[in-house]
Structures are given as C-alpha cells and as structure tokens.
Amino acid sequence: MKRIGDVVLDVKNISLAFGGVKALTDISFDVREHEVRAIIGPNGAGKSSMLNCINGVYQPQHGAITLRGKTYHGMSPRQVAEMGVARTFQNLALFKGMSVLDNIMTGRNLRMRRGLFWQALHLGPARREETEQRAAVERIIDFLEIQAHRKTPVGRLPYGLQKRVDLGRALAMEPSLLLLDEPMAGMNVEEKQDMCRFILDVNDEFGTTIVLIEHDMGVVMDISDRVVVLDYGKKIGDGAPDDVRKNEDVIKAYLGAAH
C-alpha cells in the first residue's frame, strides 16, 4: 500500500497575470510525497500556467513556492530541474530533429559532466559515462515499450507515441516530483490505459510524486489521490476525488451535469 508522506511542494498565494489577463489568482495548495495530485479545470483556467510557475518557466507576481523546504519566488528552470522536478508538456515540446533515444538521453544531461575535450575524443571517461547513462535510458525505453522506435526521429512518430517519449524524457531525469500536463490527450482508451499503467508504475516503484493535469475524468477519478480544481484562475475545489466530484461549483464550472 502507498505511504503518502509529508508535504513536498507547497504553493502559497500564487498570482500571475499577463497584461490584463489574470491567469492565476491567489492559488494555494500542497502536494504530499508519493501522492498523485490532479489539477483539473476548464480550458484556460490556468492549469498549465500553474505548472509553469512551479518549474520556473513563469515567475509569478505574488506568492511563494516551497519545494522540499526551499522557498522560492523566482528560480530558473535549470535550478528547479536540479532539485529533481521534471515535467511533460501539453503541446509536445519534444526535440523534433532528434531520435527517440537522443530525446530521452537529454533527460540525463544533468548527470553528464565530461567536458568538450573528452567528448571530442570520445574515449575513456566520456565513453564510459555515455554507456552508463545509455543503460539507464534503455531501461526507460523498455519500460515504456518503445524499443522499436529507438532510432526513429520523433517527428515521424504518431502523436501518442510522442507523448510517451515526452514522458520518457522526464523520467530519464529520475525526478522526485513529476509534473504531467495532459499526458493522455489525443489517446484512445487502450492507450490511456497504457499511460495510466506507466504513471502508476512510476508512482509505485520509484515513489515519484506526481502532479497531473488531465481532462479525462475517468482517469483523474481513478488514479489520483487528491484533486485541485481551478476555474478562471481561482481555486474552486480541493480534496479527494469523490468529494470534488460532488462539489456543486465544480459540477457547474467543469464537469457538467452528465458526470
């Protein structure tokens, strides 16, 4: 059984505006170790912006984020990455010109240190390092079942597989906190099942904490431990899936009557 732990990520009173558009208004929530935390909300509610704030792509105007005891207001994406946060992107941000293998290898970049000189020679340490990291990446490739596409340029892969590679790249960072932005968009049920399997495995086996944005309520309700609901940049609900499902505001703003 899962041991949900302490708070690892604490978001406090975050506000973010672009010109006149208030993307986020005074949002607070927390994420606990090992849990799967979902963020849902209608389109344009500010979900992706929230992730962008967490990993340093956007700098919120107000509020603070505390990650493993370290509070920050503005950190570069790289610094956040060094603290073990990885993410996937809503609009596929893969490196189009590179193969699947190389894309996932970039996820190991933080761990590779050999400088230009050794790289140029491709001998000794550089080669050893490369082989070691490659082994780790191969494990991820096996795990995601994309062995056959290893050398394919990602641009040629169908959308669903690209999403998987995106996940693979994030996993390669061996993150302790994984932010997933609509990882299952554009997939059919079978593929969603696969994706869920991967997410749950990561969560179970490596104990990775997961923040998940998803529009498929079936998925959200089934696999998340707690759910935050945003609407027009405001938080309108927070709690266990079943509670959220019954929340009037949430039904009105997001779920619609049918669900």
């Binding site: 389109n43 992706s48 597989l161 554009g186 059919n188 049920v189 399997r197 619609g256």
Partner: protein, 269 residues
C-alpha cells in the same frame, strides 16, 4: 447507403518522403448529410487520410500514390486545398494550428476568406461561432499564441465554421478540451448536421463520444481499414468495446487496475 456518397475514397496509398508507406489501400465513403467517424489508435493513419482528402499532404512531403478520391463524383486528388475549400470542404487540423500572431477574432475572420456572400453574412456566422464558444468571445482580442490549449482548439474549430462549409474534416476535435466542452463540441456537430446539413468526417480517439454522435464508423489500424459499420453496431462489437471503449466483458474497468495482462486484438491474429 443507397445514394451516391458525397466523398468516396477508393483504395488510396500514401507515402511520406518517398519511403514511408502509411496508408495501404484505404477505402471509405461519406454520404451527404451524415457524420462519419474514423477511429483507430495512434499512428493508424487517420490524419493522413484526412490530409489526403483535403490535399494538405504536399506540405508534409507526402503523396497519394494509388487509388482515387472523388467528391460528388469529381476526382479531386489533384486539386489545391483552396479549391477544396471553395467546394465546401474544410479541414480542422490536428494540433490546432492557430495563427499565432493574429488575435482570436482575426483568426476567425481569416476563416471567412473564401466567403463571397457579403459582410453581413460573415458577421452573422461570427456571432454564431461566438454563441457556440462563449469562451472565445471573452478572449477575442488576445493573440492566439497566448491563449490556452483548449481555447486554441475552439478557435481552430470556429475558424473552419467561418467558411460556412458543406463538409468538415475534423481531426481530433476533442483533444485537450474539458469534458464539458467536448460534449458541447459534439453537440455543435450534431446541431450543424441537423440544421444545416453539414457533413462531417471525424477522426477521433475519443471513441465513446464519436460513436455516440456518428452515423457510421471506420476503424483504421496500421494504414488499413480493419472494420466498419453503423455506429450502433460498432458500439456493440466486443473488440471495439474492449479496446476502444474500455469496457471489457465485465463492464468498465478502472484505470487503476489496468496493469493486467493485455489481450491481443482479434484482427491481428
């Protein structure tokens, strides 16, 4: 399907980059005033099929090497995309493709580029689109690049509607939309189909939704049509149920329990 179909795709093959064979003889018919769904997993070739119809393959370095495509009996493989739009066939591209630097409203207005029926008519359509997607109205003055993924999706659909099309090729309309909006989009499809007689060919992953709204469905796997039939019939098919609707023999299975043995699809055997 008694009357001659509006669109008749006959055994087409599509090759990308001269080497990658993607469609291996796909045939399908779309009757006038009907909604036809094109289903299938990732990489099955749905998008490619739609591109072949709307002639958007060239920019992707793809080409139709075999077979024929007819619209109302006219061969259309050689037509340009804009000629297709003039014949009333508009595609909503997968992955949104809004004009990043144009505002939402400008995006919508470009959709009316081929319209010849005057300003007032265009304005009326714009109003219609705004009533379908109120969210767009509130964001009408932002540059499309700065709107959320879902807003862009709405914009792309709305933009196609601005052309007052006879037939719409919808590529993954539900992707990235909130469930409520998905519902709405499909309602809009049904509405347009019923009221204005617009024909739809709809590539979808969301099989459940698609089969609820479509009249007929084709299932594509690996560049071939592996199954087709009336939507209702497909919904009852065991394989479709299991692999596309996620309801195995014993009812809907939780996503939490999927880490089980995967069954092979019967048609691959």
């Amino acid at each position: 399907m008694s009357q001659a179909p509006l669109l008749d795709v006959n055994g087409i093959e599509v090759i990308y980059n001269h080497v990658i064979l993607v469609l291996k003889g796909v045939s399908l018919q779309v009757p006038e005033r009907k909604i036809v769904a094109l289903l299938g997993g990732n990489g099955a070739g749905k998008t490619t099929t739609l591109r072949a119809v709307s002639n958007l393959l060239e920019g992707e370095r793809g080409e139709v090497t075999k077979g024929s495509i007819e619209l109302r009996g006219e061969r259309i493989e050689k037509l340009s995309t804009s000629a297709m739009v003039e014949r009333g066939v508009v595609q909503v591209m997968e992955g949104r493709h809004c004009f990043a630097h144009l505002t939402i409203e400008e995006n919508l207005m470009t959709g009316a580029y081929t319209r010849k029926d005057g300003r007032a008519a265009v304005a009326a359509t714009l109003d219609k689109v705004y009533t379908y997607f109120p969210r767009l109205k509130t964001r009408r003055a932002s540059q499309a690049a700065y709107t959320s993924g879902g807003e862009q999706q709405m914009c792309a659909i709305g933009r196609a509607l601005m052309a007052n099309p006879k037939m719409v090729l919808l590529d993954e309309p539900s992707m990235g939309l909130a469930p409520q909006i998905v519902e709405e989009v499909f309602e809009i499809v049904r509405d347009l189909n019923a009221r204005e007689g617009t024909t739809f060919l709809l590539a979808e992953q969301n099989t459940n939704m698609a089969l609820r709204y479509a009249d007929y469905g084709y299932i594509l796997e690996n560049g071939r049509v592996v199954m087709d039939g009336a939507a209702a019939a497909l919904r009852e098919n065991e394989d479709v149920k299991e692999f596309y609707l996620g309801v195995g023999g014993e009812g809907r299975r939780s996503f939490k329990d999927v880490k089980s043995y995967k069954r092979r699809k019967r048609w691959l055997a």
